[in-house]
């Protein structure tokens, strides 16, 4: 599912000025919508974490199962008589936490491999990139299913499983960013005046490729949120904590489709789409800022 937007840096576009990137981002409609969506869902996650306690109370009688939306239950109840609105509020934090944590791990791993590979070319580069190729060639979701099935259930497993399958993309993209940056004159000058290699990497190369890393990280987060929902729906999530994917899985297994209980199916899905779309729009806006040829208007 990865790689929908090619975030390849155009020659000479990597100015490495975060403030300028930020200003241009706020001028792009997609960037603004993406940021607004992001703030909205992180807000829901924080409010949900403060107001609700896991696990939510279930219904007391069989009459409280699959109730349609009403004044007491704004989004109805699920197969166990739980309030769907409360579940959505409480479940938001799982998507947000998994999205950010998995992306942080995958991006760090990808950046370390990408920068090492791109900067110190030669055999290091060959070995690392061949390894990345193999990792890219593995089918991500089947691998996630196998890993999640073998490792103990829980939030940490989900984060690790998603991170393990998503570092190769950033590694390649960051490497190509480093390759174009490495040959620029100021790097040669820095080396000529005796700047040490790790200092060049930390002081010049890393800041220069940072915009590319960030644009790709936004996309990775979108993919991570999607994958968390998918794993939960396939019954591989953390069963002890409410999440949007768990809500859908429980409803599907509990016969929501045959009952026509759309109120359990539609709202959590819309939340997933909203959060994923926010990150996708943000990433798209960032890569257009980085590569203006894509958007001549």
């Amino acid at each position: 599912m990865a790689g929908i937007v090619a975030v390849a840096p155009a020659e000479g576009q990597l100015a490495g000025r975060p403030a300028a990137l930020w200003r241009q981002l706020l001028r792009s409609p997609r960037g603004v919508i993406g940021l607004a969506g992001l703030v909205w869902f992180v807000g829901i996650a924080i409010v949900g974490a403060i107001l609700y306690k896991n696990p939510l109370p279930t219904g007391t009688t069989s009459a409280s199962v699959f109730l349609p939306p009403s004044r007491t239950y704004w989004l109805g109840t699920d197969q166990l008589g739980r309030n769907v609105f409360d579940e959505i509020m409480l479940g938001a934090q799982v998507s947000v936490i998994v999205g950010f944590a998995a992306t942080a791990i995958a991006t760090t791993l990808g950046a370390v491999i990408g920068i090492t590979s791109g900067y110190f070319s030669g055999p290091t580069d060959t070995v690392l990139m061949r390894g990345t190729d193999v990792a890219l060639a593995l089918p991500a979701l089947p691998l996630m299913i196998v890993l999640a099935a073998i490792l103990p259930r829980g939030l940490l497993t989900i984060i690790l499983v998603i991170a393990v399958t998503s570092w190769p993309g950033p590694a390649r993209i960051i490497r190509s960013g480093v390759l174009s940056e490495r040959e620029r004159t100021y790097i040669l000058r820095a080396r000529a005046v005796g700047c040490r290699e790790w200092r060049i990497v930390g002081r010049y190369i890393l800041p220069a490729v940072m915009p590319v890393i960030l644009a790709n990280a936004a996309l990775l987060t979108a993919v991570a949120v999607l994958n968390q929902a998918v794993l939960a729906f396939l019954g591989l999530g953390d069963p002890t904590h409410a999440s949007w994917g768990n809500l859908l899985q429980g409803a599907f297994d509990g016969g929501a489709m045959l009952q026509g209980a759309w109120w359990v199916i539609v709202p959590p899905g819309l939340c997933i789409v909203g959060l994923v779309l926010s990150f996708t729009l943000l990433s798209n806006a960032m890569s257009e800022v980085l590569n203006p040829r894509l958007n001549p208007s």
């Binding site: 089947p142 691998l143 979108a222 899905g269 996708t280 001549p296």
Partner: protein
């Protein structure tokens, strides 16, 4: 061997294929042998066995030998498709695997067809006038559909067209009441195929749209397009005769590679519609802890994906000679 000849590219890629497959097989071995603790515990979980019986089992599975021996044994088995018996149903794993593979291929082929048609159409419309209202609408909606989890798209379609408006069947690949052969059989399968294939296509066509659109906007800005226009060639002919063929290269690779992403979607769609393919088999194997089936299904999918990547690479090298000289 001269670098750049098609044959040398093929040879290099084939060698690479073998290396990748060996690594995949090794990962598979370690995942299933080394990670989950003792395999004997998995087998004997159902009943209590005496120490003698455990030793007996251990001998017959070669578990008392070294890991190296087990690894070679495993390689021999997996490449001869001798993948053992399913824990859950006690039939050979291959007898479950191959029908499931065929069912998955039917689904993927149908979805890939829809993606090619709609993805190319929308991609060309958007790329022809970058920055226009139509372009923005197509790109934004492609991204919106891409943000939809495949299983949720499948759930919505199922809710709408199988429960609220019951046009299509909700479950499985064929009805029990339908004829077992002939036109009736095919129509029955096609009816079952519509919703799963559409769910898959609707979330995946966006990728083709975006890649085609972006490579079209780059090609339109090139000098030769201006030249063709200056000759007085009609805009429609410029677009379909000159821009699209040149922009199509990256898209073609995406079409082949999207099969890999389709695979991820297929697993979800198969679960929602109970389509008896590899994905459903895998997910069921997880819930019944049927490790031989899970392992073989994963390996088969990995091999399929690696081979697809190879096909994409070779296709690219064959069509675009520039690639060979990289």
């Amino acid at each position: 061997m001269r670098t750049g000849s098609l044959r040398s590219v093929v040879a290099k890629r084939l060698l690479w294929l073998v290396v990748t497959l060996a690594i995949v097989a090794t990962i598979n071995f370690w995942l299933f042998r080394v990670l989950p603790g003792s395999p004997l515990l998995e087998i004997t979980r159902e009943g209590r066995l005496s120490a003698a019986a455990v030793r007996e089992l251990s001998n017959s599975f070669g578990l008392n030998r070294g890991v190296g021996y087990q690894y070679l044994d495993y390689l021999r088995h997996i490449f001869t498709f001798n993948t053992g018996l399913s824990y859950a149903s006690q039939v050979p794993v291959t007898s479950l695997l191959f029908p499931a593979l065929v069912h998955t291929l039917i689904l993927v082929a149908a979805a890939e067809f829809l993606i090619a048609v709609f993805g190319v159409w929308f991609g060309v419309r958007a790329g022809a006038k970058p920055g226009s209202f139509l372009d923005n609408t197509i790109v934004t909606s492609a991204m919106a559909f891409w943000s939809v989890p495949t299983f949720w798209a499948a759930l919505l379609l199922q809710l709408l067209f199988a429960v609220v408006i019951p046009i299509f069947p909700i479950f499985g690949m064929q009805s029990l009441s339908a004829p077992a052969s002939g036109v009736g059989h095919v129509t029955d399968i096609l009816m079952h195929l519509v919703l799963p294939a559409v769910s898959l296509a609707i979330v995946s066509y966006g990728q083709v749209v975006l890649i085609l659109r972006n490579s079209m906007t780059e090609i339109i800005g090139e000098g030769f397009v201006l030249g063709v226009r200056a000759k007085g060639v009609r805009e429609r002919k410029v677009l379909w005769g000159h821009v699209v063929p040149n922009a199509f290269l990256p898209t073609l690779t995406v079409l082949v590679l999207s099969a890999q992403f389709l695979l991820a979607g297929t697993i979800q769609v198969e679960v929602v519609f109970s389509w008896p393919g590899l994905g459903l088999l895998m997910v069921q194997a997880v819930s019944t802890r049927d490790l031989p089936v899970l392992e073989a299904a994963f390996f088969l999918i990995a091999v399929a994906v690696v081979v697809l990547n190879l096909i994409a690479d070779l296709l690219y090298a064959w069509i675009d000679p520039r690639v060979r000289f990289r």
